[in-house]
Symmetry: C2
DNA sequence: AAAAAATATATCGCATGCGATATATTTTTT
DNA sequence: AAAAAATATATCGCATGCGATATATTTTTT
C-alpha cells in the first residue's frame, strides 16, 4: 500500500498549523512591548471595532470556545484592559467593554500590522499572493465553521 | 488616524490561526479513534517516514521548540507508541524510534488524509486552490523559519 | 403556570507551546 | 590540555485551547 498521503510534505494541515505559529512568533516582539499575548490582541481588535459585546459574540468572532474565552477575558480584566459586567436585560450574558487602558492601547498597536507586512514583504513573497492566501483561508474557515453557526 | 489595519477582517494572521484550529478540529474524530492528538499524529508521520531520529530532528521538522517536543515524546512513550534511547555515539542526543504499536498505527492512519480531503472537497472549494494555498504557506514558512536554520 | 429545552457563562482537567533557565556532553578556542 | 563556547535535552511556569460538565437564566413546550 502507498503511504505518500501520510508524508508531512503532502499534508495541507501542517503548513497551516506551522505558519500560524510562525506568524504569531513574528508578532511576539511587538506584543511584548504592549505586555499582551496574541489571543489578547485579537480580543482587543474585536473590541476596538465593536465595544460592549458579549462573551459569546467574542468567542464567535474569534472562533474560540467560551471555555477558552472566559479565562482569557478574566486575565485581561486582571490586566486592567477590559471590564466584565453582567447584562441587566439578560442575566446570563456578560458584557465586555474596553477600559481606558484598553482604549489607549489602540494607538500603540496601530503600527503593528504595517510593521508585520514590511517584515514579511521585505523578502521574496508577493503581497498579491498573500491576499489570495487570505481569501482561500477565509473560504475554508466559513466552510469549516458552518456547523457552529448552522 | 485610520485604524482599518486593526480590523480582524484585514489581518493575514487571524485566518491562518483560525483555519489551523478548525482543520485540526476536523482531524479530531479520526484521531480520537486512534487515541492520539494532532501533534502526536505529526510526530508519528515524521517517524513513519524516517524512523530512529533525534529529538532535535523532530523538533526541526515540526518547527516546534524542544521544550514542547520533549514532553510530547514522553507522553507518546507512556502511550507505548515510541521508544526513547540515549545515543551511544553522542550522549547528548536521544534517539526516537517507533514501537510495534506505533508502526502498526500507520495502517489505521492511512485512510485519514483522504477522508479529510473528501470532507473538505465535498463542498465548494477547488482542490487546485488548496494546492496553491499549501504552496504559499510553505513559502511563508521557509521565509519565517529561516532564522532558526540560518 | 409548571416542566422541559435552550442559552450563556463558567469550572475542571489535560495537552500543547513557548520563554527562561538548567544540566550534561561535545567541540572549539586559547 | 584546560577553559570557553556550542550543542542537545530537559525542567519550570504560564497562557492558551478544548472536551466534559456544572450552574444560572431565559425561552419554549405541554
Amino acid at each position: 500500500m502507498e503511504y505518500d498521503q501520510l508524508k508531512l510534505e503532502n499534508q495541507l494541515c501542517f503548513p497551516v498549523y506551522a505558519a500560524s505559529r510562525l506568524i504569531i512568533r513574528e508578532y511576539q516582539p511587538f506584543l511584548d512591548k504592549l505586555g499582551i499575548t496574541y489571543p489578547q490582541y485579537l480580543v482587543l481588535m474585536v473590541l476596538w471595532e465593536t465595544d460592549e459585546i458579549t462573551v459569546n459574540e467574542i468567542s464567535g468572532k474569534l472562533i474560540l470556545n467560551t471555555n477558552t474565552v472566559t479565562p482569557l477575558l478574566k486575565r485581561m480584566e486582571a490586566l486592567g484592559l477590559i471590564k466584565r459586567v453582567r447584562s441587566n436585560s439578560d442575566e446570563r450574558k456578560v458584557l465586555i467593554s474596553l477600559s481606558d487602558k484598553g482604549k489607549k492601547m489602540r494607538e500603540k498597536a496601530a503600527s503593528i500590522p504595517l510593521q508585520l507586512i514590511e517584515k514579511i514583504n521585505d523578502e521574496s513573497i508577493d503581497l498579491n499572493i498573500l491576499m489570495e492566501l487570505k481569501n482561500t483561508l477565509n473560504s475554508l474557515i466559513s466552510l469549516l465553521d458552518k456547523p457552529r453557526k448552522g
